[in-house]
Symmetry: C2
Subunit: 766 residues, 2 copies
């Protein structure tokens, strides 16, 4: 790219006054958690604070993972528990993933009802058959840390907010002698018959209840504890035990355990609490979680929400959000842009989640209780997604948290029975989801960028140990042969490509730490992508153990072609660690541009769409799949050709097409914030193509200006002069008044603060 | 009773030299844990230290609680896991109740094998079908804290010992390339299909394994953690998962989880570890338990058995036993008497069991982790049995432990969701077994006897709260009406009688603490036994709500007659708190004696025996059921008549009839030491008829002499002058040289030490 230097001085002076303005107030108003709740965004509309342990949100159905003993594909839509198109709410549970394509959680569902007690949730088509209620979006408010809805069947207004570890419910009842609050301990997301391994309920007094739930779900070996307080004593309580008959009933028969009996332990329970209410009477519930114990949950409640002031909790939560959102203060003429941007910021700062009690204790991978000393422990690491842009974003605007997240990963490594860094971890469990070992990329990125207060030598050892785990998904063969044979692994090409990138990241980290033997070993490994490239067809191609390439192969298909969540057309571009070599491999500049152009413009036959996971039809542009992650860097690859303007053009095409401020506004799963992080970076004009490098490829800012708050009181002001929907091309970039004669910016330049000016134009160079 | 004073001076001088002898050494040699392992004693032959958390003992079959969906009565014989008549051993597990009539436990079964790996236990009739092995009593040694057996099918010698929290296995193998050690996580006592709720196994390295097991058994809500170390690294390991298919296999399919994979979590697992061994090579295993965590188990192991010296652990264990046994040093011409006595001492000091980690942490009734501060926490409280003689025995020879046991009960009360003292508690669980609320009797007994360092006011409050728990088994009606109506409770008469006794105990405690309002309330309640006495038939008799007595009633039957583990014939004597009033109720001295005589001499028709629980035919004398507890005080009731010599005669008849030093030597369940405690007291010549009183009824000593070690270095020497099988009558009793003109001795007299001389004779008075 060639920038014109002429306007530099002018631009700088012209925007100086503007850039010095104070950050705008009330960014929270632009957060619309409802974005992505329709179709495949898999976000949720409920209440949470930044990185909070509690995600208190409505469930709109009870789709089971299994139907008649088979996988029920409908369950997929309910990864976050809520689907915008549904007409009933079954209740409000305390844990939700944001934007995932597989799921779990939905713990401890609360539902207020009036009238005859119903303890089953009923069905969507026959809502009156159970405790669920009709609702309407007209009577729904979804905001940062606040959710409100009218439960029409019961004339109850439900409101909720949360602190880090405590959900706060407020239910406004009509006058009735028959008010109930149901606690459904069987409800859950991606639920199935035996998912509830065990539950325990202890009614401590007329307004305090504790308990726990052990589940065998995506997290195989998970226990979550709770403590619950009502603002008003219940007058009676009970439960129904849906478990198989107890073999050892024995002397428990002395009691009627289903009514006003203070302890129940069984796999399948639903409990209820009865009240009498006056018209408009509010009953509040504080519901605290703990990964460690019921005592821990009570202590969390006492520490975070000792009183009963709903408004104060909500205001504190929104203040916390405001503080996070204001890390980047954008200027835009478009409300939609502000809503997209701040909702992306919001979605980017939900996961990973804090995973420890207020005293620092948490349940580790080894199922022992550990104490986080000197750091905050996090979980919910969807690393195949988030190493790409979310953690790089945190290195800029959340450096302390990212450092703590890595400390959490290193603790995970210490506790891991397999002696590996996390792949996809949650709640003291590993689910091994997806390809690669991308924790190493997150760690390398932090080390290379100098945001690493952890023990970097130990961290390197953990990365190397993980990358040398021969028994893990073909790593042994990959080390021995340079690729994974098609016969031995269903996603052999994805794995080979992703390992090669991760290895390069390890090498960068080793180099920075002066470990040149490690550097050399892993730089060599990082070239393994070449071993799955078939020069005959010009694609990354499944390769047999004997060195030949698979005969029957369709580079457009994602079905059993050696790739995961991507076809070869997209995955062939997955060499973020070395675009120049990739370009050579694909035949040089011109042919590479042509291949990229085809990706974005070709017409993907419908049959291939049908097999593409996790995204809507809108999540694809040509054959470019933005809704899945392997292509997230691809639009930026033009930067390594002589047509970087195509990066600018593509990015500005993708931004509005894939992100809209509407319930169905996300083109695919938000993937715990990775999709949102892509949006944030790309809107600001740069993107981390290869985490582990200190460089960010420049793109085309979609905001008019932005101020990024940096550590030590520094700021980076970004100004996009003449930016508009049409002026998407970058004519010139100036950093602190100096023209930048390259199409990347370094991490130290960003963190050094100052001014980054993009001069935009409606025309591009050649 | 009338003692002859004439020989007192002579006797005193004559026995002085003898009584001053030092206690005999090596009392451990008389302990025969095998006593009671045949038929209904329900003791176990394995290794344990006094009050140890680990009871490491062989299992001889795998009888399931259910067969074809129905209760399998055969399971009853396996309460302690071992039946002497069996010919195979299935393995060695780490937890066993001693002498109970219901059961649980059998956690973490270890079995060493050679040759082809078999992971199922096989059957008794086809031992080769599984991992079990034949064995013979000729190749078996069962001693205090030591068990040894030859596993014939594998030519493996198995030896085991234990510390408080750690089992130590030593297996001597033949030369083989195929040595296995199986860890069966599904095995258990009173096992059934879904009893294993969840298990977890973590192979930390080539010789260290941790894990846990959650069970839903007699203890409904129980988790036990373990840590296991091998003296030699295994060369391979694996498991078989017998659970239903996992719904969420997901990315765990990346691994072969059944072989050399370091973590498994599922409800039904059996694991194995492979070795190569030389001829005669020993493989040792240290296996530690914890109620709190795997880390806790590892810490327990490190604290108690840091090294690998099997002999040293065994010697330490036997030294601990010697120290406990020497609390009472008896003189007897009979080896059988010594074996009976010291095995009774041994069985009396197995339960209750220590229930906390070395750092004092334990899992409470509320399922939270608590720390025992200033006391040792105990569990396994079979209080319906043990309040009678076992805890009174502890007040004499284990005062510190009894005090700690009460502190454990008070902690239980604090943690109990029902706000009640323990009924029958184990491992942080309550199973509500049997009748009454006899923890109050244990507490009252300690308070009245001045062995109470706990907060006595709080203890009284706990007793009163428990006794006023209206929702518990008819207490409400009992309070309102003075008895429990037959229509409302299946064991209404037992409950009424036992509550009345317990209430008297509370009253005694209240009096001692100066709470006269409580004293008066509960003294009144203590007379409620009168309300179920039917003057028409002279029996305690089920009474209807309208005040009439049940029409159809059989005082010989134990089946659905309003009693538990006893018939009315026996239970009618259950007024230990007031024998004089009972005598009046039954028609005065003469008629009372006649009733007692009939009890011991009548011929109980076989049909009634068939319905008598927990005892062998030998456990009954006439219609007197010694094998169950409600009659344990009955032989001493003659003391309140003018024929106390009949107490002496009956006791001396019961002792040898009900206790023999043979595998089938116990006439009924040992009941966690209560039967043994009866033996100890009665052999020494006195018995606590009504715990809560400071008096012990005098009987007829069966030992020649005994020295009881008391606190502060005091001793009580008991001398039975002229004692023999024929000289069972007490002519005279002298305490410290003074003739005792009464047929009881007080607790302070015992604890004051000195000499208690019984002058025995072959003739009784009138």
């Amino acid at each position: 790219m060639k920038y014109n230097i002429i306007f530099a001085a002018f631009l700088f002076s012209s925007f100086a006054a503007f850039a010095q303005q104070k950050p705008a107030q009330n960014l929270v108003q632009y957060v619309k958690p409802i974005i992505g709740t329709q179709r495949m965004g898999h976000t949720y509309p409920g209440a949470t604070v930044p990185f909070g342990m509690v995600q208190l949100s409505p469930e709109t159905d009870t789709i089971s993972y299994e139907e008649n003993g088979r996988y029920n594909p409908k369950v997929y839509a309910y990864c976050a528990g809520y689907q915008y198109e549904d007409h009933t709410i079954t209740g409000f549970s305390h844990t939700h993933f944001s934007g995932t394509g597989h799921s779990d959680l939905g713990d401890f569902l609360i539902m207020p009802t009036v009238g005859q007690l119903k303890l089953n949730p009923g069905t969507a088509t026959q809502p009156n058959s159970g405790y669920r209620s009709r609702y309407s979006h007209a009577n729904e408010v979804s905001a940062a840390d606040y959710y409100k809805v009218k439960l029409e069947d019961y004339n109850i207004t439900a409101e909720m907010t949360a602190s880090t570890r405590v959900g706060f419910h407020q239910y406004t009842f009509p006058k009735t002698d028959q008010a109930h609050i149901i606690l459904d301990l069987m409800a859950g997301i991606y639920n199935y018959d035996d998912k509830n391994v065990w539950t325990y309920l202890h009614v401590i007094n007329d307004s305090t209840v504790t308990g726990f739930r052990r589940t065998n779900g995506w997290a195989k070996n998970r226990v979550l504890y709770f403590a619950m307080k009502f603002s008003k004593p219940f007058i009676a309580y009970g439960n129904h035990n849906y478990s198989k008959k107890e073999v050892y009933r024995g002397f428990w028969g002395k009691f009627n355990q289903s009514k006003n009996f203070p302890e129940i332990a069984a796999p399948k329970l639903r409990a209820y609490f009865d009240f009498k209410t006056e018209e408009g009477e509010k009953i509040d519930i504080k519901f605290a979680l703990s990964p460690v114990s019921m005592d821990g949950a009570l202590a969390n409640m006492q520490a975070e929400i000792p009183g009963w002031n709903f408004t104060a909790v909500k205001e504190a939560g929104q203040k916390a959000w405001e503080s996070e959102l204001s890390k980047i203060n954008i200027q835009s003429k478009s409300i939609a842009e502000k809503q997209n941007f701040y909702t992306a910021m919001y979605h980017a700062m939900i996961n990973p989640t804090i995973y420890m009690d207020v005293d620092g204790e948490y349940k580790g991978l080894d199922q022992n209780v550990h104490k986080a000393v000197g750091f905050t422990n996090y979980t919910t690491f969807s690393l195949w997604d988030t190493y790409r842009a979310l953690h790089p974003l945190f290195n800029i605007i959340e450096p302390k948290r990212n450092d703590d997240m890595i400390k959490s990963m290193l603790a995970h490594f210490e506790q891991s029975p397999e002696h590996m860094l996390p792949i996809w971890s949650n709640s003291g469990n590993e689910n091994w989801c997806m390809s690669g070992y991308h924790a190493v990329a997150v760690i390398a990125d932090a080390v290379v960028k100098g945001n690493a207060s952890f023990d970097t030598q130990k961290a390197l050892e953990a990365c190397v140990a993980t990358a040398r785990k021969r028994s893990y998904e073909g790593i042994g063969e990959y080390i021995d042969k340079g690729y994974i044979a098609d016969e031995h692994n269903g996603v052999s090409v994805s794995n080979t490509l992703e390992y090669a990138y991760d290895d390069w990241a390890i090498a960068q980290m080793a180099k920075k730490l002066g470990k040149m033997d490690i550097y050399n070993e892993f730089m060599k490994r990082s070239e393994n992508y070449k071993n799955v490239f078939d020069p005959a067809d010009g694609f990354m191609h499944p390769r047999n153990a004997d060195g030949t390439f698979r005969q029957k192969f369709d580079p457009l298909s994602t079905n059993n072609q050696g790739f995961i969540e991507g076809n070869s057309w997209n995955y062939t571009f997955f060499v973020p660690q070395n675009p120049p070599e990739l370009i050579k491999l694909l035949g040089g500049n011109k042919r590479f541009i042509s291949r990229l152009d085809s990706l974005f413009t070709m017409n993907l036959p419908d049959k291939y769409f049908a097999e593409t996971e996790d995204i809507t039809r809108d999540g694809i542009i040509g054959n470019y799949v933005h809704g899945n992650e392997p292509s997230h860097h691809v639009a930026y690859l033009y930067n390594w050709t002589n047509q970087p303007w195509k990066t600018q053009e593509r990015v500005r095409m993708i931004l509005p097409k894939m992100y809209k401020p509407t319930p169905d506004g996300l083109g695919g799963n938000d993937d715990t914030g990775q999709m949102s992080a892509w949006y944030i970076f790309s809107s600001l004009g740069f993107y981390p193509v290869a985490p582990g490098s200190d460089q960010y490829a420049l793109g085309s800012p979609a905001v008019d200006a932005a101020t990024i708050q940096l550590p030590k009181g520094k700021t980076l002001e970004i100004i996009a002069k003449n930016q508009s929907d049409k002026n998407v091309y970058v004519k010139e970039v100036l950093l602190n008044g100096q023209v930048l004669n390259r199409n990347y910016i370094t991490h130290s330049e960003i963190m050094g603060g100052g001014k980054l000016v993009f001069v935009m134009s409606g025309k591009h160079g050649k």
